[in-house]
Amino acid sequence: MSSNRTLYDKIWDAHTVGGADGTDSLLYIDRHLLHEVTSPQAFEGLRLAGRVPWRLGSNIATPDHNVPTVGRRRGLEGIQDPISRLQVVTLDDNCRDLGIEQFDINDIRQGIVHVVGPEQGLTLPGMTIVCGDSHTSTHGAFGALAQGIGTSEVEHVLATQCLVQSKSKNMRIRLDGVLASGVYAKDLILSIIRKTGTAGGTGCTIEFCGSAIEALSMEARMTVCNMAIEAGARAGLIAVDETTLQFVRNRPYSPKGALWSLAEANWRELVSDENAFFDIDMTIDAARLEPQVSWGTSPELVLGVSEKIPAPHSFESSDKQELATHSLAYMGLEAGDAITDVALDRIFIGSCTNARIEDIRIAAEVIRGHRVASRIKQALVVPGSGLVKKQAEEEGLHKIFKAAGFEWRDPGCSMCLAMNDDRLEPGERCASTSNRNFEGRQGYLGRTHLMSPAMSAASAIRGKITDPRDYL
């Protein structure tokens, strides 16, 4: 093998099934994560064709999108909407029938699939990982090739352990410099998407590197890779280093003893070679960033917190001008206004982008000793998993939130996409730590501003979009 391969090249090479005749490759899949929304039709297809899972042990399931974030003691009975309940029950049935391991609604390990995988050590460096969910890119933080797939592909992976795929291009985004206080991984990735646009990474696997990335914790790296898809890339990657190994060690499903030593030696190789070729290269000075927030209905419409809402004519292409015009109208905003003057109705701290323990700690630190502004109708903290929730409670963080007027909920996707009961009413505006601000994403005619947990917490205090540095 040549010694000028990217990290992506290396994982790709280690997983392509030989003996191919045509041009399309078969990529072997090590880990398959399942949830209730994109799997039922795949299981049905499998059954109709009389097929069985190729390698049972590679699959792991948990319900997350539809589960309620209150009244969980009642288990399945607690799901009010019968259609949602049927979807969760269908996952239970499919897993039981086929023998697929599941962290079900009553299991403390249940949570958002992208929080659960890493937490359990089911996500390991060098793996190929897929899930019927575009934010599977999250797991790339471990130096794993992790990609979202459609339902037909879920069925394909169940049946064959492989994905038919052609190789993507290599893109590298280098972030150097020390982040200023109040600036976090979420600000990094929002500023990247502002620069690349939502299609800038289409057809690419993005490797994030540089001193600003190296300094990040695993939680923060996951936040960055989570939103690689919002830059158009199916997968994001970060090289393996001590931080990665430290996180993975001693997780319930990570290798132990002699296997660990073997794995560790292999994982240390999971970096791009010095002379590796990247089709696209981009550099961002991370030291100069201020906290970022989205203002429009596309994750590329992002501002620094000190900036003013832009006028459509300030954009170059007619496509972007049109997008900006639509956004201003949908979001009910005026060009030229300071983003910090925008008043809010709800606060959502959660989602696979920002619902890990570190996110909750940061938000708690900001909110400690303050109260949620009276104009805020609802402020939610939704931990990413049952274990994150437990950990936060052991640290007493729930008390800080509750004292401030936040609701402390049970784990799930919740208001990130509002498939359960947590949602915005028409016209309401939300400070959200999630990853998508598309029209109606958080509820019919709802308005979303994406930001870090620190900014969400600060914004809760003032009732409008607020620079978190005012409270640090």
Binding site: R51, I83, A159, A199, G232, L417, A418, R436, G440
Partner: protein
Amino acid sequence: MKAFEKFTGLIAPMDRANVDTDQIIPKQFLKSIKRTGFGDNLFDAWRYLDEGLMNKSPNERRINHDFVLNQSQYQGASILLARTNFGCGSSREHAVWALQEYGFTCVIAPAFADIFYNNCFKNGLLPIALKENIVSSLFEEIAASADSYCLEVDLQEQRVTKPDGTALTFEIAPERKASLLSGLDEIGKTLLRQADIKAFEEQHTKAQPWLFTDHS
């Protein structure tokens, strides 16, 4: 999957860029455990003036008559024309199912988001990428044309023919083209390579044994 055949169809122009899958089929309709039943809710938030809920019949809804697909001249359209980065966002394959059930066989745009593009081929929907300026001129020609504007789509020849007889060619990966034309079950095709997969697995187990200490 049905084999893809040459056809002539009416084109509907949707002049928007970055159409995301949340718009193509909003999340409340993803609760279904079936593969069908999404056509009435394609572009739900744009097509209707009231909020769409599962099991709400289209007859009870308030129609947005300004929306392109509700205009009389585009009824029966089987080709959708849109601006760049079509299908971005969520991986939901329901977006493809909804487009097909509504009656679309083909989507034309300057560029598509990866996962959506991929999902199209699993279901027999043909995404055609044409250059930005060509797409722009199509929008103009449709707006200027008095009659209904139809295109002939010929996948075999990788060609789209306009009403005036001008042909536009498009690129498509050979294996993707072949799978649409044959309509073959992709899983069945992959399983023909069972021996390769088993051989790979054996070697992979030796190289990375920690991946195979299965929990079940």
